[in-house]
Assembly symmetry: C2
Homo-oligomer: 124 residues x 2
DNA sequence: TCAAAATATAAGTATTGACTTATATAAGTG
DNA sequence: CACTTATATAAGTCAATACTTATATTTTGA
């Protein structure tokens, strides 16, 4: 599933906010040199496996990250957390900041919004 | 990679400690109804992709979780941590406990050691 | 040193999966 | 309406992958 680099990349883009299928077809299609249907098929898989949510906006379909499935992956990793050193250093910062609000970029196609500000994990 | 249920299951078993290739072939082979070579091939993939480490013990090969690759997956998930509610409640406990030491079950084949005690994440 | 045990590799096959082009469907727009 | 835009689906192809059985390799122990 997420072994596929195209799908991973799609989610990375969606981590920055909502994007239309067309915008994704442009960005991802260009990056990987694949067609619109190819991207659309990846979107279908992501949708069906619960990694994304979609809402209609006229003829467009706006995709966004759906937490559930990714969270499940995260939960699965719990059993291995004891195997690597944790990053407690970032904790204070994170606690102070509180839970970060998500932006809702309605589309954005070619336009690049730059890297997301540091949303980071702390780990156990 | 980890989209494969057999490989995920192998790692789950290894999360409880070291197991020989034969023990894994028994457990996994039985659970999934596949042959020794099939399991061995999965072990090869996991090894080559850096998810496991192996050491020799006579004719046996003892497999264990290799943190690096899984940790990378965990790091990748960082960018999505803002999308789901965090479990800060577990933090105190975890801090108090300090980093959990890993057991080294030398094999264990059919014998089931029961669930690992709660090794949990806290998240950002 | 030879047979058995533990594991890996080889070679073949069937399924899955990631694309392609072509086309269907649905929604704006003149 | 007809045309265009936005997206999804269909159908086919090719490569990757997850098995199988058979066998090679290494180690141990009688």
């Amino acid at each position: 599933m997420l072994g596929d680099p195209v799908r991973r990349r799609i989610l990375e883009v969606l981590a920055r906010g909502e994007h239309s299928a067309g915008a994704l077809a442009d960005v991802i299609g260009t990056e990987f040199g694949i067609s619109q249907p190819a991207v659309s098929q990846h979107l279908r898989v992501l949708r069906e496996q619960g990694f994304t949510q979609v809402r209609a906006d006229g003829a467009r379909r706006l995709y966004a990250v759906a937490p559930a499935a990714l969270r499940e992956a995260d939960a699965w990793l719990d059993q291995f957390r004891g195997f690597w050193p944790q990053r407690l250093d970032a904790l204070g910062t994170e606690l102070a900041r509180g839970q970060r609000e998500r932006r809702q970029l309605v589309d954005g196609a070619a336009r690049d919004e730059g890297p997301p500000e540091g949303r980071q994990s702390v780990g156990a």
